[in-house]
Amino acid sequence: MFAPMMKKEEIEIRLKRFQTLIRRLRRNSLSFGASLVILAIVLIAIFAPFIAPYDPNATDASKAMLSVSRQHLMGTDIYGRDVLSRVIHGARVDLLVALVATLIALGISSFLGSLSGYAGGWLDHLLMRIIDTVMSFPSFILAMGITAALGNNLVNVVIAIAITHIPIYTRLIRGEMLHIREREYAEAARTVGNPTSRIIFYHLLPNCFPPVIVQATLAMGWAILTVAGLSFIGLGIQPPASEWGYMTAEGATYIVSGEWWIFLFPGLAIMITVLAFNMVGDALRDILDPRMRGVS
Amino acid sequence: MSAPLLHIEDLTVHFHTDEGIVEAVDGIQLLVPSGEIVGVVGESGSGKSVTALSILRLIRKPGRIIQGTILFDGRNLLDLSEEEMRPLRGSHISMIFQSPRTSLNPVLSAGWQIERLIRLHKKEKAKGAREQTVQMIRQVGIPSPERIYHEYPHQLSGGMCQRIMIAMALATNPKLLIADEPTTGLDVSIAAQILDLLQEMGRRTGATILLITHDLGVVAGYCDRVAVMHAGQVVESASVKKLFRQPLHPYTMKLIHSVPRVDVDRIMETIPGNVPGLIHPPQGCRFADRCQWVMEICRKTRPPVQTLDGDHLVACYHIGNS
């Protein structure tokens, strides 16, 4: 792969590569199905208010704790709220949080990782030590700590997840950058007289991305699990918002009396979403194969 | 010429992959007389390694030996069950591979990897096996064998690792030693030492050696006979003398002429085109697209193998042209 300097050619080549990717993804029907699932979930999240049959926050004491029925495909909870509508709206929260956190992490990591990889020296050393220290924490535990410290709201959850993900992306981008900074086109860019920042961010960085895309897809699943986990504990989401982890926690208290639908469906939603992301991520990794050794 | 120790006839090996059936080896014939060093030479992908693995019946899914006979010491190896085949591996027929460092188990000591084969195949007890191992290490030209016995592959150089592999292969006194590109990845000077060693050990133990290589120079320097493979087929085989003096197949000619020479002043030649894909190979001669004397019939039917001069085999419609 190379980074052409012409704008139009660049776009054409990238488009072609994207089409090849889609074609190869299609060949494996299982992962193609998974990518359709992701698409469906994203659409559900976007169009939630139009898809959900009821208002997720509408309480109705007379309809409390109804099991699965034709009117309420996933039943109702203790406040009479329709579980299906809540699950649909929950997609918004979980996906959005995971996505924003991932994008922030990617943004910061791209900057740090490419700088570190290209410049080397004490900057690289220092950054790697910081990264190592952050990675000395089990990621969920660290996310807990950060959210608890910053305050109990969703923004802080996003920050917490972003922070726990930055080390992985940074290492990855740095590794790729180390690889390609000695390549011919980098040398060419240097000799032509491009300013260093342009070399790093315009010419070299885009070529670091394929393994990062794979990791990001897989990390989305982890991000969703983390949001749900934090909300389950009570960190991040505030009632009455619908969020899958929080809903599972709500439903947990009722299993002793046998009301299973309140906890089951949100948890199932989490599982299906994470599964879909993992499968697509694995398929992407297989496609981009030999470069992927060592990424888990 | 002594009786053939190994006689391969009409061997065909296919690999069933996602992209299609790869016809890796297609109806080859190979004669290896006892006590000689026979070379198999060809580009990568010509089927040399697959042939070697087929002899030892190590072709695994998705590969399958479709047909053929491999006569070793009078027995057809392809008729044997796995149970009957295994005792032959490592004891009657041994094999050494390229990249010696990765062909040795990194977590076992060099000596143990030799000794356990001696224990297994020669049924030796601990003390005797240990002594024989040390002897063997010494024989392959490694100084202080007692110390090397305890070392691990990562502590040894590439050349030493290959010597250990040779020791592993010859410790059991096999009749046939298959060497699959044993010098790839080694320094030129080390490679020469290894080849000298192989030749010497072959002479000493009387083992027959099947030397697989892509290097014609190696063939010229060490082999008695040679078979030339192209795209899964044996296109020519003869004694080394005859082959170099009078190559008959266009591919062989091109191969020989493409070796750069300091004594002859000429432009470096290359062989045009690429090896044809083995998934839907051409039904005629597989060299047709790259051949300068190609005729209509070459593309239609595969050229049959002709025997000239008693032991010079060639598969070409254009014999004698040059």
């Binding site: 924490f137 089990p138 969920f140 389950f232 599972t248 299993i255 599982m271 694995d282 | 190590l58």
Partner: protein
Amino acid sequence: MGLSRYLFKRLLMVIPTLLGVTLITFTLTYLLPGNPAIVKAGPFATPEHLALMEKEMGLDRPIYVQYWRYLSGVARGDLGQSSSTGRPVLEDFLQRIPATLELTLASLMIAVGLGIPLAVVSAVRRDSFLDHACRIVGVGGVAMPTFWTGILLLYIFFYYFGLAPPPLGRLSSGVPPPASFTGLYTLDSLLTGNFRALGSSLHHLLLPAVTLGFSVMAPLTRMVRATMLEVLSSDYIKAAEASGLPQRQIVYGDALRNTLIPVITLIGVIFGFLMGGNVVVELVFGWPGIGNYAVTSLMSKDAQPIQSFVLFVSVVYVLVNLLVDIAYGLADPRIRLR
């Protein structure tokens, strides 16, 4: 020798890592909303009393001084005060650690004892029924939120089948805990021959350990299987086959050995997942461990325990990884020598 150098380097690295960990947790503690002086002084403190308390706690000093106080406090074992129990956090921890330890060990045994053999057999018998089942479980298990699995199992085995005990703790009410030696009820009851306590504690431990164990087993099995497959397709295994060694010896001797060595480092990675999952499992099953304590304190607006919990768990994680690296250095001849 290579080994002692490796160990020395590794040990040396632990110190700055631990310092870094304390630095981060200090930052988090520093970021805690609220004035810790109020917590200590109590809700009825006068402004002068508060100012005095602040001075005493060094809250008016520059950051690096505060960090030093924090660090020396931690070294002494001062992890702060819990406003909900009113006791030092360390004391609360010590009381609850045995429960967490028991759960963690049991889950680890399940994950490793089941996960590794499963992965090995799955790699050896590729594309068999077992392999497919293993891969499905692996892929699915990684996607299942641990808390959800726990609740699901509770629903099935507690509510529906009535086989599991209610998620109220480590023993059934009416069964007194065994004499305390290790604090692990299962071990203690075994040691003292208290079979009633043994049965009850095992009964209560089963479901939470299975939940946590399975959730950790999924990534472990995937990684071990991948390693085994890679090893099985390596050059030296091919060479071993060519040398006539029996298949059994090649797979369960040579290949397995080469797989298990890197798996040692995997155990360290798994431990991180274990710690994370511990928290939610303790919550779901009412298991009285430190994770449960940290979270329930937080729910009562008592933030100190959770920060100390983060510190504690991370220090343990760092030390476990150190042990893992030491074990790996001993096991792999490529590190042990030269």
